[in-house]
Symmetry: C2
Subunit: 332 residues, 2 copies
């Protein structure tokens, strides 16, 4: 598996502190910790410097537990990029100069966007792997993804980590953000870095830079995730990159009727893989929250499931590993 590298961009945006837009973390204070904890879970299999496993107010565990469960079975290499984490993490990270993002309604939302994009692009060019799977963890990230899509003029609705997608709330925030940036929808078409800086977040800047660099050097890229990865694809396409790109997500995002995952994948010419972990087949407290529509994606869950499928690991084995780490980390 040395040909395959899974790269997690972990970061934060102050946009997540707005009420009612994210299910990441049982209380608002956890929102800043979740990316650092996710990075540790993926790297070490448990929290190290952070103290708790992120769980939503309704009891849904972070999708990092699913990705890690696959990693325990398949054994791929992981690299975490610091795309603006707010809390120190014990996971080793690569720096691209990203800092935590500001609120979407600020005029200059991501001051580090240009630098992070370029540093990530150089990193993506230099990585020796034959294929990269790119993942994200950033609470509030679907709102900034919608912001970027609107700035680019793409009419694609994003999904949500909440069972009820707060579409109106997101639209309001994006309208506020566009006004604060003196932009109309579509004003940043063909200008991905401008869209990132005015309306995005540091994870989107990092992932789109990584993708651009990898595509330039003919490295195969799979964007592992849902709406946020659609925004990454849109950014890369608006930057003039036309090479093949894949998107691997979960059935939870692909079947979310409030979002436009399949239409977006068509619009941005993505080779789409959708994987269902079969959580509805088990009577497990952690799995039922996913079935109820929480979380849906994150930390490359859909990509990890696709890697398991490709390696011939049955979903029942992935569910077993997930249940084991849930028991070890959350029942204790």
């Amino acid at each position: 598996m040395h040909e395959t590298r899974f790269v997690l961009a972990a970061g934060t945006t102050a946009t997540a502190e707005r009420d009612g837009i994210s299910a990441a973390g049982a209380d608002p204070a956890m929102v800043g910790t979740t990316p650092s904890a996710d990075a540790e879970l993926l790297t070490y299999g448990r929290p190290v410097r952070t103290e708790t496993v992120p769980v939503s107010p309704e009891g849904c565990p972070t999708p990092a537990l699913v990705t890690r469960a696959v990693r325990d079975r398949v054994g791929f290499d992981v690299t975490v990029v610091d795309a603006g984490v707010a809390e120190p993490t014990a996971a080793p990270t690569v720096s691209v100069g990203a800092k935590p993002g500001r609120d979407i309604a600020e005029q200059d939302t991501v001051p580090t966007a240009y630098g992070a994009f370029e540093a990530a692009r150089q990193f993506g060019r230099a990585l020796p792997n034959a294929e990269l799977w790119l993942a994200e963890t950033i609470p509030g990230g679907t709102t900034t993804a919608l912001g970027v899509l609107r700035a680019l003029g793409e009419d694609v609705m994003v999904s949500s980590s909440l069972p009820e997608n707060p579409i109106e709330r997101k639209r309001e925030l994006v309208a506020e953000g566009l006004a604060a940036s003196s932009l109309d929808a579509g004003d940043a078409a063909g200008q991905p870095k401008r869209a990132l800086r005015r309306m995005g977040d540091p994870v989107l800047a990092t992932l789109s830079g990584l993708t651009a660099g990898a595509v330039e050097t003919d490295t195969a890229v799979t964007l592992a995730g849902g709406s946020q990865q659609l925004a990454v694809a849109a950014l890369v396409r608006h930057g003039g990159y036309e090479g093949p790109l894949s998107l691997a997500t979960t059935s939870y995002v692909a079947e979310d009727p409030t979002a436009d995952l399949r239409a977006g994948a068509d619009a941005f010419d993505l080779d789409l893989t959708v994987t269902d972990p079969g959580f509805d087949r088990e009577d497990h407290v952690g799995m039922t929250r996913f079935v109820a529509g929480e979380a849906k994606e994150g930390v490359g869950m859909g990509g990890a499931l696709a890697l398991a499928e490709r390696a011939g690991v049955p979903m029942a084995a992935v569910r077993e590993s997930f249940a084991d780490s849930y028991a070890q980390l959350l029942d204790g």
Copy 2:
């Protein structure tokens, strides 16, 4: 192998800029780059942000190629700690607040020693692995190791990355350092952090902190290396830690008649493993430099060889992997 984690502390000391004490890097300018390059070689199998594979003036490649060759066969997890690197590295790193060390003849040689020791100790306590193998890369490190040993009052001579150990030069530098620190030999006995700050380097501070934290939580620790790891053991013993500790090194260090590896291992109550890669059996330009006494150790080479032996991987297979990456990276 998820129970085993190989942790590389990568850092620098201005002491390496002194003439005639290190073989790391073909020219003095490479001395600052070597730790970053070693971290990338161990992580990715080739340079990524750095541009060249470190090679001594006589043509000896970095021992990172040996450790990586074992990793290609055995597949252990690697974590790099930033113990004061001077050049950006594309390897993901854990921060413990260490900065590049100053020259040994400064009064305050390692201002970050206390903080790095404590942060590394907390990290060592928190790591979930059953066993840690600790490695180092820091040009000039045997001189600062001698400095620490003298400050602690331990009469143990260190080895060298040069075929002719510049013992007198090291003694002079250490005498200069002790004078600048207003210390006599033995004045820092029982005070490891004082010895580190006055006479050491940030890699020694990081590794002794990691070891202390791991020992406190009953994690098995193998110090992978030669003289510098003897200094780590001395620091940990002077800190009052009495638990079991192992040292795994190469036959090149163990058989160096100018140094006291075996006596030191006895003095600090270390379970010693010595492994010979059998480089004398091959007619290979990279291997003959090791046989001639260059490098001898570094980047956990001796520990990696011990891991190969434990896993039942023949040394001939390790030599083959080493020759493959040498051909790919240095003959090209």
